[in-house]
Amino acid sequence: MSDNTNTHTHEHPGYGLYILVWAGLVGLTTITVALSGFNLASLTVVVAIAIAIVKSLLVTNYFMHVRTDSAVFKVFIFVCIAIFLVMIILTFFDLTYRFPLK
């Protein structure tokens, strides 16, 4: 562990890539607002969450540099998300079967 200073051996991408990502984020926001005008019934939540996930992936990978950082950060994020999913899925095993289906 001799050199713990700046481990960025690669250059930051120029402003252009970031502005492109930003444009994508704004675009996705527009899409998600537009879609809320349609009646998607039970798909509403799924579509909204899916778009939010894509937006988050853009922020995480490009703005937060996870794409170019060392793999350990990807593993960390994966573990965090996995644990959260376990929590919500097991809770829903209770909820979905507790109430009589209407």
Binding site: A48, A52, K55, F63
Partner: protein
């Protein structure tokens, strides 16, 4: 026995510092994650009431706030690139833009909340007795989640203002800016939380 003061040298470990920040971000993510679990559970239990309650939220303000935060995330990243290129002043201006955008978000939030409160829609407020259980829960979740989020925006803004100060004093420079990057990471998380809050509260139609 030595009478000289013992000094331990502080080692520098940028990668470790980044790791520490990410772990802290996970704690924030799960703090909100717990609230999201509650949101999901109650939306499952009260689907119609949630729709009714959500109609009173202003989609336009919500969308504007989303764009504000997304843009402020962009300016934070640009500020970091600028600092690495030793463009100190430009970096500072970008960070100040971030602060202004975050401030504008909070101003919007203030107007949203005061409108609701004016109409008696707040915990133990006069209008709440007229609402169904699901709507009461919806607004409870709304106030807690957007309130907690706003608190985190304030913390993030303070963090960034400290970074502005450090840059001015050359404590964060082109080849020593892990603290600034960590502040950026925090800000992006605050942005991501809002990316999920927005559709879940404003776009249930």
């Amino acid at each position: 026995m030595s009478n000289e003061a013992v000094v331990t040298h502080v080692h520098r470990d940028d990668e470790g510092s980044k790791m520490g920040m990410w772990l802290f971000l996970f704690t924030e993510a799960l703090l909100f994650g717990g609230m999201f679990i509650l949101y999901a559970s109650y939306r499952f239990m009260y689907p119609e009431n949630f729709k009714v309650a959500a109609m009173r939220l202003d989609t336009l303000i919500g969308a504007v706030n989303t764009i504000l935060l997304l843009t402020s995330s962009l300016t934070v990243v640009i500020a970091i690139v600028a600092l690495r290129r030793n463009q100190k002043t430009f970096s500072i201006y970008m960070l100040l833009f971030t602060v202004v955008a975050g401030g504008a978000f909070l101003v919007n939030k203030y107007f949203e909340w005061s409108t609701k409160i004016h109409h008696g829609i707040y915990p133990k407020g006069p209008e709440m007795a007229n609402l169904s259980d699901g709507e009461v829960v919806f607004y409870g979740l709304y106030y807690v989640m957007t309130g907690l989020h706003a608190l985190h925006i304030i913390v993030g803004l303070v963090f960034i203002l400290f970074m502005v100060y450090f840059i001015i004093k050359d404590k964060q420079t082109g080849d020593n800016c892990q603290k600034l990057e960590n502040a950026g990471l925090y800000w992006h998380l605050v942005d991501i939380i809002w990316i999920f809050l927005f559709p879940l509260f404003y776009l249930i139609h």
